[in-house]
Amino acid sequence: MDLYKLSLSEIAKKIKSKEVSIKDVLDSVYSRIEDVESKINAYVTLTKENAYKRAEILQIKLDAGEDIGVLGGVPIAIKDNICIKDVKTTCSSRMLQNFVPPYTATVVEKLENMGAIVLGKTNMDEFAMGSSTESSYIKKTCNPWDLSRVPGGSSGGSAASVSADMAYASLGSDTGGSIRQPASLCSVVGLKPTYGVVSRYGLVAFASSLDQIGPFSKTVEDAAIMLNAISGHDTMDSTSADIEYPDYTKSLVNDVNGFKIGIPTKFISEGLNPDVKKAYEESIELLKNKGAQIVEIDLDYAKYSLAVYYILATAEASSNLGRYDGIKYGYRTKDFDDLTDLYKKSRTEGFGAEVKRRIILGTYVLSSGYYDAYYKKAQQVRTLIINDFKKAYEKVDVIMVPTAPNTAFKFGEKTENPIEMYLEDIFTVPVNIAGLPGISIPCGFDSKNMPIGLQFIADAFEESKLLRVAYTYEQNTGFHKIKPEIK
């Protein structure tokens, strides 16, 4: 049996029951990586040596009758903007190509405490800025469904690794859709939790008020298991939510009878690919048949989300990325005349085009004289968008929209026109603006057999509702069982 093909919950059970050894599992996954990674290029760094060491320790504990956690021995992948002590964390940037953090992110500590084994770090758009993983300085990650197409982004490596069975689950980060959009493009489950549910301590910041870590998985059940492991209040993160965290696996109920699902028809009417539209409409029918109530809702301000996003996210990014100055760590130019020259050249050479574009945008919108017109105005519109959602959730349990307006596009297809690339995030960005949880699950394929994603959005801290509706949909369709043929 090919162990790598199993889901996270399946492999965890087999390890726990000692039907297979943790080493067998690692062997299977690493040999899978050996077979297909040269085509996919999902990983920036493999941590094979550490993984086998941990496997040995965990196996000894397990054999001694100890509880090694719900993720005991399960190999997972981590996006390369989440710090692990003594393991390179590059953010797929030349700037941090050789950066080795002196500390470990809270999420990784939590996963390891639950027994997970880190396989390696995955490729991404540089500093998580992009929707195709093409802005990576390190390598080009391909979509397992069609190697000539992008896996989406920015967490393209994390999505592709799970899609190609090179990891049972992975972590990504989502600032404007960077988990959900690649999940959609690669036909895996991608969950972006409520802002504050997962600690950001150790996540290299792109836009602090929008960033959130979340899991990629093969099934909705696995997403719930991963969320159980990584969620929780963290005293190291002042924006972390100090609430009662439920057991998310309790929401895995195949029943949406009486569930109210909101459809913002006006918001999703424009620019939607016909195949995506068809899959979306079929999904509505399916859930209706399962007893869900479909409710028409208005999200009047959602259309301004991208404008708001490209002001707030770039403003925060311009400040967050100031620390990469060639002084303390990271890339430093070879020749420079003085301090200013050192700054200029290090940043010019160390950052790629998309990162520089956003730093310039963000610097501009925060400049004196422009602050009120851009940043302040964007914050005001952000409040309107939040209120829009609040109003909607008075009427519905979840909102359902496509994850992305299109399926995976070809390399280079949108790199010349940044705005077109930005538009790929139109259905995911409002969720970050409002700090809400969203999940993308497989809901079909287009005429070229490229995956389509369906997104559910819930009110803040209502991940349980998301998981319930997503689980029901998944159990009644089975798109998640269809795997790409890598060629």
């Binding site: 301590y201 993160d237 002042s238 924006t239 311009s318 100031g322 925060l366």
Partner: protein, 477 residues
């Protein structure tokens, strides 16, 4: 000068004496080996997040309450963005439009008049690291121990009109911060420093002149000199028909000269925006009232109490209460010897001089307050004369010995026995016929000479009042 009025406002930075830094658990202590008090958070490693030190807020609120400020129930922190190697995050976390405290004032004496200076605002922010230029290799190195040490910035209204007022303001502020025990206020270590905003205008003119800002002054002397220099410079410029430019200036205390650093046009655009990694600071009335209750007696209240309770002159009260340490020492000594004026005289006189010469504080000296009290009691009960007391004091200062022990060891007990003193008086009178004749001829000065001789003969131990009395008796016989 006489045609111009000076307008001064100060921005004072005080490092808060919290145990740990503003946003991490590192020690905020001064003076350790470079880069030993730092961690991923205060060195701005990728991915780290700040967690606000509640003590810093508490200390800032104390400062606000003690300076009659309104305390904001809702305030926030903002990022001030700029590049410099001592600032690892490339932004300083500060407060921009919603400071913790605002609209306060402090009062102090300038000569005989009471002066009130408005406090515009007090906000919290983090300190930067320190650059160390290695003269040997020519390298510049960064010490991040000071990165993210909590600071308060106290911004005054442009209410001061002379260097003297500015110095008095600084002194008053320093003593308030010391009383609150929220800052070491060690100017030489940079834990208290100030920027001087200064302009001049023709007397009678309503509008302010163009101001300059002289940065980072860290001693009273340099504040005084920098202000005097800048006043003169601005007058010279205006008198010569030139313009004053709004600019940032640097003061070189060694050269006694101020330089322009950058003009308004070159000023940084700090691109302030709300710090997204930190929640707003929301304070309840209960929280503020708790802090209010904990406030110590402030110097100006203490001064009034000294005047009424101890009957001390205003000047003495002001001098002693200007330092919490000195006031504490004073009260301890008074509680034992019950002679406030005598304690005050010692503290402001010989003691102050000797402390100054040794460059130590009153609590660092070897003389414990109970010991000073005993010395005063020995004088008060006439065991020793005040002249002897001064000698004993020097001994105490050097050795830390008990006053009584010194008096015993050296046999300094005052002679008050009239019989014994009379013998000396008679001998001196008989040995100094000329002085006696002078006295009788109306030269009162002669008596001083005779007293001196008698005291010398008694090795200073004769009670001076008794000597005077007996001498006059003998002379007028």
């Amino acid at each position: 000068m006489k045609n111009y009025e000076v307008v001064i406002g100060l921005e004072v930075h005080a490092e808060l004496s919290t145990k740990t830094k503003m946003y991490c658990g590192c020690s905020a202590a001064f003076g350790s080996d470079p880069n030993t008090h730092c961690c991923p958070i205060c060195t701005g490693m990728p991915g780290v997040l700040p967690v606000l030190n509640g003590k810093a807020v508490e200390y800032a609120v104390k400062a606000g309450l003690a300076t009659n400020c309104e305390i904001a129930r809702f305030s926030k922190q903002d990022r001030k963005n700029y590049f410099y190697p001592d600032l690892p995050k490339a932004y300083q976390t500060s407060q921009y439009d919603l400071p913790l405290c605002k609209n306060g004032y402090i009062e102090f004496k300038v000569g005989d008049t009471q002066k009130r200076v408005g406090i515009t605002r007090i906000h919290i922010e983090e300190d930067a690291g320190k650059l160390i230029h290695d003269a040997y290799t020519g390298d510049t190195l960064v010490d991040m121990n000071r990165c993210a040490v909590p600071l308060i910035e106290i911004v005054s209204e442009p209410d001061m009109r002379s260097a003297e007022e500015a110095i008095n303001y600084m002194q008053t502020l320093k003593s308030i911060l010391e009383y609150l025990e929220i800052s070491d206020c060690k100017m030489q270590e940079g834990s208290l420093r100030c920027d001087v905003n200064l302009s001049i205008r023709p007397i009678g003119q309503k509008e302010f002149g163009t101001r300059t800002e002289t940065k980072n002054l860290n001693s009273f002397k340099s504040i005084q000199r920098a202000i005097e220099f800048e006043i003169q410079r601005q007058i010279d410029e205006i008198e010569a028909g030139r313009q004053i430019f709004q600019e940032t200036r640097r003061w070189d205390d060694d050269k006694g000269y101020g330089y322009a650093m950058r003009s308004k046009e070159d000023a940084h655009d700090y691109r302030y925006f709300p710090e997204p990694d930190l929640a707003p600071i929301v304070l309840s009335d209960e929280y503020i009232n708790e802090i209010k209750k904990e406030l110590p007696e402030m110097p100006h209240i203490k001064k009034q109490r000294y005047m009424s309770e101890f009957n001390l002159p205003e000047y003495d009260s002001e001098q002693i209460t200007s330092s919490k340490e000195v006031a504490g020492y004073f009260e301890k000594a008074v509680s034992i010897c019950n002679n406030p004026k005598a304690v005050a005289n010692w503290i402001m006189g010989d003691f102050a001089k000797m402390l100054n010469e040794s460059d130590i504080t009153v609590n660092e000296s070897k003389i414990l307050p109970e010991n000073l009290a005993k010395l005063i009691m020995l004088t008060d009960n006439q065991t020793i004369s005040s002249a002897i007391a001064k000698k004993v004091f020097i001994d105490m200062f050097e050795t830390g010995k008990n006053a009584q022990d010194i008096v015993n060891e050296k046999g300094l007990v005052q002679i008050t026995d009239e019989g014994a003193i009379k013998q000396i008086v008679e001998r001196i009178v008989s040995e100094n016929a000329q002085s006696v004749a002078d006295y009788k001829a109306g030269k009162d000065k002669a008596i001083g000479f005779l007293v001196g001789q008698i005291m010398k003969e008694s090795k200073g131990k004769a009670n001076p009042q008794v000597v005077n009395k007996l001498l006059l008796e003998v002379l007028n016989k």
